[in-house]
Symmetry: C2
Subunit: 141 residues, 2 copies
């Protein structure tokens, strides 16, 4: 077992443990954690996002994401229109209500995250962000 494999296993375990803990928190209301992930990703970008771009951030197949966006549009949380520049694609953004829902859920969830990661020192937080950033950034191969 190499160090790389141990590190990856440890990361997976931390992810699973924390995801379960967050999921068990009573903050999600009318939205699932996966749907929140979409709302959050959209909330970070002011310019509308392409489906394919959104799909890079969300751990979901392309058809599953397409249908989840469908539902969010039906529920009035997301706005979708075909991209005038490339009429195959779509432009996705939050509706005012979607933005409101994201904020309302994001507030307590962010507190949970902060609480869960409080076991780490500020230096460790920085190291974690830097290391995982390096992992995600490297897209070739």
């Amino acid at each position: 077992m190499t160090r790389a494999n141990e590190a990856w296993e440890s990361l997976m375990r931390a992810y699973a443990v924390l995801m379960k803990r967050f999921n068990a928190e009573d903050v999600w209301g009318e939205v699932t954690m996966r749907e929140y992930d979409v709302l959050y990703t959209l909330s970070k970008c002011d310019s509308p996002l392409r489906m394919s771009e959104l799909n890079r951030h969300v751990l979901l197949s392309q058809p599953a994401l397409s249908r989840m966006v469908d539902r969010l549009v039906d529920r009035g949380l997301v706005h979708r229109c075909t991209d005038p520049g490339d009429r195959r694609g779509v432009r996705l953004s939050l509706t005012p209500e979607g933005r409101e829902v994201q904020r309302e859920i994001g507030r307590p969830h962010a507190r949970s995250v902060a609480r869960a990661l409080n076991v780490l020192t500020p230096e460790e937080l920085d190291q974690l962000a830097a290391i995982t950033g390096k992992l995600a950034g490297n897209e070739e191969q």
Copy 2:
């Protein structure tokens, strides 16, 4: 946005990116990545595992895990028997075939993992393992 939130977001992103990459690799054969996770967890413990114990390691609801184990039992990869000491519970272990399948898939997958994490220095790998270990280990609250 606190450092804790940035670190968590970065971790989530790394997890999503790498999971997608691994999933796209052509090493899974007759088994899904989630099923492999179960086989791998079982392969690490020589003594049979309880369903609830297994469920702590796998990011899946209890009913979903119960049925996944069902299928793995049907396919002859996992052995399940009721725990003689507590007849509500079950004891889960790999069959010889299950162990074989796990090894066969684990070999190339471990190489993929090592390749993906090669962008990190040995020190960074150790830091990542230590930090995520600390995150997962802290179970209270």
